[in-house]
């Protein structure tokens, strides 16, 4: 029997996937588990394996097309077999759990009917909303098309309408199909962060002389032992991670139950890619040695550049560093990546005239700007973190 190849849902909230390429041709034979196609999700490009042994047939979707998850995009058939003509939709696995409890026994009798479920194509075509949400939307003139539902099944609830009514200008026009997933995701996430997270900023200028020395001193050794080039960013990742150990409230997030301190220290690195920004994560950056950080940073940069980041590469960051120093930027402020509570914006290292022991001196200086979520971090906490970070940069123990 023919096996359907469906667009998989790789992330909880994923609604569509973009087919990048077929790795097999129509009519070519394929074994179960062999790479069959490449898809791009909101966050990464992934290879998808064949669901069975047979011949690839009935390709319905071609490279570059965006497809709702759960939709059949091709078939694996036996040699000579004709693929089914009819479209078959598969459950996307996004059901609410309420439907299954109380009726389990009464439904024990065998039934030929398929289980009631919402296929992803149907879900995409109808906007579900509560009566209260509809009333509020008409009272406040909110257009449903621009509102994302937060209900258990994605329904638009009263709270979504109230939020949309407050930030009306930010509701983007629904232009499906323009822009890549990364640019759309960036637009959504930064808007959400900037409009819901109360940001404040603490700026500190730090003498980077010792940092430069550390890079020179350790750079050669690490290049030899780890075959990786040591950058200022690597040093900052290591120093920041170690300072975060003493400042758990900076390495935390705001939840509905209040502040939650993160168990791990996973430092994200904001990286520019073709049409947006991604922040892959160096995990347990406080526990691994500098050479390992350099290797991980190098590999993450390479995967980001080629669009091959895996979902795990960008998950579970607890603090982020954004470095625009290489562009000659003196200083800037960065937008926090929720649910993280802080992000460090790093400017360029430039020679400045500064007072030293009562005399003007020329020193390599760097300007660091910490953006903090004021629900989690207050000014004094942010200032203490920056003081300890400045002291670590002034005397790097690596």
């Amino acid at each position: 029997m023919a096996i359907s190849v469906v667009m998989p849902a790789l992330e909880m909230a994923q609604e569509t996937g973009k087919l990048i390429s077929w790795l097999k041709k129509e009519g070519e034979s394929v074994a179960k588990g062999e790479p069959l196609l490449e898809i791009e999700t909101d966050k990464a490009v992934m290879e998808i394996e064949s669901p069975g042994d047979g011949v690839l047939a009935g390709i319905k979707v071609h490279a570059g097309t965006e497809v709702p998850v759960g939709r059949t995009i091709a078939w694996i058939v036996r040699p000579g077999e004709v693929p089914p003509a009819e479209e078959v939709t598969v459950e996307s696995g996004r059901k609410t759990s309420t439907a299954t409890t109380a009726s389990a026994m009464s439904n024990a009798a065998p039934s030929n009917r398929p289980p009631a479920s919402t296929t992803s194509t149907q879900a995409a075509s109808a906007i579900k909303s509560s009566p209260k949400a509809r009333r509020l939307a008409s009272e406040r003139g909110v257009n449903f098309a621009g509102v994302r539902g937060s209900g258990p099944g994605g329904e638009i609830l009263a709270s979504d309408i109230l939020a949309a009514a407050e930030s009306k200008p930010a509701a983007p026009p629904a232009e499906v199909g323009t822009g890549s997933p990364i640019s759309r995701l960036m637009a959504e996430r930064t808007t959400q962060s900037w409009t819901t997270v109360p940001h404040f900023f603490v700026v500190r200028e730090v003498d980077a002389g010792a940092l430069n020395e550390a890079r020179q001193k350790l750079g050669l050794a690490i290049e030899r032992s780890h075959q990786a080039k040591l950058t200022h960013t690597d040093l900052l990742v290591s120093l920041v991670a170690r300072v975060l150990q003493k400042h758990p409230r900076i390495n935390a997030s705001w939840t509905s139950n209040g502040v939650r301190e993160s168990a791990e220290i996973n430092v994200g690195l904001a990286m520019a890619v073709e049409d947006g920004v991604v922040a892959p994560v160096v995990r347990n950056a406080d526990k691994i040695e500098l050479g390992e950080i350099a290797i991980q940073r190098r590999d993450l940069t390479e995967r980001a550049r080629t669009g091959k980041l895996r979902p795990a590469d960008i998950a579970n960051g607890t603090f982020t560093i954004s470095n625009l120093g290489m562009y000659g930027v003196d200083a800037f402020t960065a937008i926090i990546i929720p649910p993280q509570a802080a992000i460090l914006a790093v400017g360029t290292i430039a020679d400045r005239v500064v007072p030293l022991d009562g005399h003007p001196a020329i020193r390599p200086m760097i300007t660091l700007t910490l953006s903090s979520d004021h629900r989690v971090v207050d000014g004094a906490r942010a200032a203490e973190f920056m003081r300890d970070l400045a002291s670590a940069i002034g005397n790097p123990q690596l």
Binding site: T96, S97, T98, T101, A102, S103, M105, S106, S130, P131, K132, A133, R134, R135, S150, G151, P152, E155, L157, A158, S159, S256, N257
Partner: protein, 334 residues
């Protein structure tokens, strides 16, 4: 309408004691009140609810009957029509099936059919509730059957305070009243004032004030809802528990007001969910609060099966604190 009748109480008694006190006080106050049923006299019922009443009021006012529910219920209807105030005891709620003609076609209709010349001021007390390991013929909650019939009032107390106040109001009512006691609550303790008081029929009670979700619950499900509300509080969901106390007359306004406030409603009742009391209450809420609801009204009742004797199976047939907690959490998106 808020309950303004609650008097302060400095003592706690059980649900069963509250029922017994209500009967004893009404029998002292009014000599036309008498009790009849199976094993009500010497035995004081299998649940010992009526223990001691025979000694105080004698065999003429606490009557043991043969096993003949249709017969002695008819006797009570006739006695009520001639000026007495009988309180019929139907040991297990499952046995009400035998009384249906007397209750539905006689007690409920006599006032109407006689153009108001006759009244039937009787009370039928009976039990409901599963999880007592009493099997399929002694565990049902059939109150919905009476709620369906015009001319009958139906009372479902959830606390000792309400049980005493509502039973006294039921005995003083001029209409036939069916009074359901959950047998699993007889040992439940609660504050009950020693002084005379009644709880009017048709006034709901907000048992717990909350903001995020309303749990409308009847009888022992009120206790389940309060337990679930405590669990919900731990995860930051504030649940309101509303007890209609009487299925008819029904205080629709209190239910609708709470639904409008919280925007989310679960209705809990131990009767069968299918075509049950929960359907009526959910309909009242959906109609009255439609434009304030943020989620479909959810109903939780007994599964559509004979109540099993096997304890694990029996426990799975009716809502529990945990299942209500999970349902409320899902509805609130947590």
């Amino acid at each position: 309408m808020p309950d303004t009748t609650r008097a302060p109480a400095d003592r706690e008694i059980t649900f069963a004691q509250a029922i017994r006190e209500a009967l004893a006080e009404e029998m002292r106050r009014d000599s036309t009140v008498f009790i009849l049923g199976e094993d009500v006299a010497e035995a004081g019922t299998p649940f010992k609810v009526l223990a001691g009443l025979l000694e105080e009021f004698g065999k003429e006012r606490v009557l043991d009957t043969p096993i003949s529910e249709a017969g002695f219920t008819g006797l009570a209807v006739g006695a009520a029509m001639t000026g007495m105030r009988p309180v019929v005891d139907i040991m297990f709620g499952d046995f009400v099936t035998l009384t249906m003609d007397q209750m539905v076609n006689q007690a409920a209709k006599v006032h109407y059919m006689s153009g108001g010349k006759w009244r039937v001021p009787m009370v039928m007390r009976t039990t409901m509730g599963a999880t007592r390991r009493s099997a399929a013929q002694h565990s049902q909650s059939l109150h919905a059957w009476f709620c369906h019939v015009p001319g009958l009032k139906v009372v479902l107390p959830s606390t000792p305070y309400d049980a005493k106040g509502l039973l006294k109001a039921a005995i003083r009512d001029e209409n036939p009243v069916v009074f359901f006691e959950d047998k699993m609550m007889y040992k439940l303790k609660g504050p009950v004032p020693a002084e005379d008081y009644t709880v009017p029929l048709g006034v709901a009670d907000v048992k717990r004030v909350g903001e995020d979700i309303t749990l409308i619950a009847t009888s022992s499900m009120v206790q389940v809802a309060l337990g679930a509300a405590a669990l919900l509080e731990e995860i930051g969901i504030s649940a309101e528990v509303v007890d209609p106390r009487t299925m008819w007359p029904l205080d629709e306004k209190t239910l609708i007001d709470s639904a409008k406030k919280t925007s989310r409603v679960i209705v809990l009742d131990e009767g069968y969910e299918r075509y049950g009391v929960t359907a009526e209450l959910a309909s009242v809420v959906a109609t009255g609060a439609f434009y304030d609801l943020d989620a479909p009204v959810k109903r939780m009742g007994a599964m559509h099966v004979p109540i099993p004797f096997s304890p694990p199976l029996e426990d799975a047939t009716v809502p529990t604190e945990q299942t209500v907690f999970e349902a409320a959490r899902t509805m609130c998106g947590k």
